[in-house]
Symmetry: C2
Subunit: 415 residues, 2 copies
């Protein structure tokens, strides 16, 4: 405790601490949020589209009618009424569940963290799409897991790739603890696992005894009709399902849930109580009233329509401004497009130049545990107006053109 | 995945999962909350004393003025303005801090959990008062730590006991990772570390290079003038301080904070982002407005006055109804009295009889990691009216008298 200056605690930390590092996305936020920058780097839902007056009235009623309970502690599993309402929400996607099988969490992020704590010892293998959700990578890295990425294309995770990976593990004499997947409108790739592949993936998982963790935050934010039903709607065993109110109501509530088989649910319940006691009772009550007193399905439509228009603006601007050597996904829902730069360009190296030109994106490397993604970037279309998005892409196209010129100047070189 | 029935996942869990068990207090809640039971088992602040109409108006203003931001994601460290306001709150207790040194958490419970993740490997030693906060035990057990209890008396932790424990560890060639302490109006013991002992404990910690985690939820709920200043008000190095709005505003918000040296803060920040991204932005904004727009110090006085009257009622009822062979602490603040049963009585064995007589308490064993506490119980005085408290003690005294009779019938026996 005495005699040192920089970090008095070196040598006292838990071993797991040494693997933790700040995500590139987080580090980017402060620069990207400057007003002169068109940020395609965000991930926030467009919360300004929520009916603030109506929400204010809802909170007023809530506090008058149930204030004392909502401002006190609550049981770790959370409100039964809210869990029942969430079962109704899932039912719309074909996921059948009993309220008793849900554990409420501080966002789906905490659901992931609790699952990691429940299943992962250091060195355990986790399978995940490449690219995958950056917050999941943060959890798996904190758990000192060994993340192995699986290949995707425009129809999502490629079954043969999963099969090959499992066969490889078998040869190593190892087993993956689980497959983490975002099958619908994936973050960051913006692609959706096709109907046929869902059945194939489930069959492979069944055959290999592979547990699946299905993260499903975006499936209600659909632009062209409903997506294929979630994996959990197809089988009850072998799939743990993560839900959240972040995209259908508000991310600022930090409220998600895990739907798990009873044995796992019991462990999650103990874990959530140790970690936070319970999610805020006030937030739970607000969410309950959103799903029971407000026109919440209409609100989801408002979000989806808004994002669809902005996606259209993004795709049109990419087509209009970007060179033919660049490609991108065409998401049927969600918040993100995944773009691949022309050969030899590096999204991470390019970022300072982009910021100088007042446009921000997230370099692809943040979505891989293994350093891949240098030629990719994630572009968000939920936070900016269509006009801003178009202007942002115009600026970005200038940066890309500049980098192409730079590359060609040093052609045959090391790029 | 196939062929088994009860728990498909046995053999797949992380090793840490096997040490987790439900706390006795949680298991008790469902029975104790029946309307006919006078529950002295609770731990909730009396949230009905909050001005619900005013809070409703505050939420309405908040949503109108800052709704879009409050309903979106926020940076992991949380709102700067709120962290500054919390520095102002701590300043009233003499704790000087910069907003930059705070990490906001989902209740102080999560602060504890993040500290455990940061410092504890399985088998690490944690020192804590005996008895100690049950939620801290849950965290330490989940982290597979080895909790060693230290003796207390009416003036709190006994310095000689700490000294002895540290000397014993040294002999074993081991070192405690930290001392976890609730020095003021301790839960469950209701005692406060005296002025002199605070200095002694700090001197011992300095001499042994012992890190202290000071959990301070109750110090503003004082009945007879301010308590001695927190440990963190006396030294800046070597003490990590946990704060919460649970007792001064509302537990249902699940909002706490950790004040830590920069090196530790950086680690906590990474840990909180991996665990939950951030505490709810809406809750943060509500807390900011509580501390900046509302008469919050007046509200704390309302709570303290109410609890003081109820403590008086509890102490008077204990004096009036209980046998002379029973003893209890006389808390100068907080929410709890710690009572010790007459020789040979067992609070855990007695509980079913108490519930039958429609009174509930928490048996002392829940507050120890080592099975101690069988002759003790925690009595809460924040949730029930003075009349109910008196009636509850009257019922409890009948149960105690019955158990004394039982004991004497089998006198000289194995009790």
């Amino acid at each position: 405790m005495s005699g040192t200056t920089l970090d008095d605690y070196t040598g006292r930390y838990a071993s797991r601490v040494h693997g933790m590092a700040q995500s590139e996305i987080r580090a980017l936020f402060s620069v990207a949020s400057r007003p002169e920058v068109v940020s395609l780097a965000g991930g926030n839902p467009y919360t300004a589209a929520l009916p603030m007056d109506e929400l204010g009235e809802m909170f007023t009623r809530l506090l008058q009618q149930d204030g004392a309970a909502a401002l006190g502690y609550c049981p770790g599993q959370g409100s039964t009424a809210l869990r029942e309402a969430l079962c109704g929400v899932m039912d719309l996607s074909g996921v059948r569940a009993s309220a008793d099988d849900l554990v409420l969490t501080n966002g789906a992020q905490q659901g992931l963290d609790l699952l990691a704590r429940t299943f992962l010892d250091p060195g355990d293998i986790v399978l995940a799409e490449g690219p995958t959700y950056v917050g999941a990578l943060g959890v798996f890295q904190a758990a000192q897991a060994d993340v192995r990425h699986l290949p995707m294309d425009d129809d999502g995770l490629i079954p043969a790739g999963l099969e090959e990976s499992l066969a490889g593990l078998k040869k190593e004499g190892r087993q993956a603890k689980f497959l983490y997947t975002v099958p619908t409108y994936q973050n960051p790739a913006g692609v959706t696992l096709s109907e046929e592949r869902r059945e194939e993936i489930l069959a492979i998982a069944e055959r290999h005894g592979l547990l699946i963790i299905e993260d499903d935050p975006y499936s209600m934010i659909s632009f062209e009709g409903a997506p294929p039903a979630p994996l959990r709607a197809r089988v009850e065993r072998g799939v743990i399902y993560l839900g959240t109110v972040s995209k259908i109501f508000a991310a600022g509530l930090r409220l998600g849930w895990v739907l798990a088989p009873p044995a796992v649910r019991d462990k999650l319940l103990l874990a959530v109580e140790a970690a936070i006691l319970c999610p805020s009772a006030l937030i739970q009550e607000a969410a309950l009233r959103f799903f029971t007193e407000m026109e919440w399905r209409q609100q989801v439509k408002v979000f989806a329509t808004l994002y669809r228009d902005r996606r259209d603006a993004l795709l049109a601007a990419l087509t209009d401004y970007m060179p033919g050597s660049m490609s991108w996904t065409k998401p049927g829902g969600g918040l993100f497009v995944w773009a691949t730069l022309p050969d030899g360009l590096d999204s991470k190296a390019m970022l300072p130049r982009a910021l100088q030109e007042r446009v921000a994106y997230v370099p692809g490397t943040g979505f891989y545990a293994d350093g891949n993604g240098r030629s990719q970037m994630r572009l968000n279309f939920s936070t900016q107006s269509s006009e801003s998005i178009r202007e942002g892409v115009r600026r970005l196209a200038g940066v890309v053109a500049g980098d192409i010129e730079l590359r060609d100047t040093f052609a045959g070189g090391s790029a």
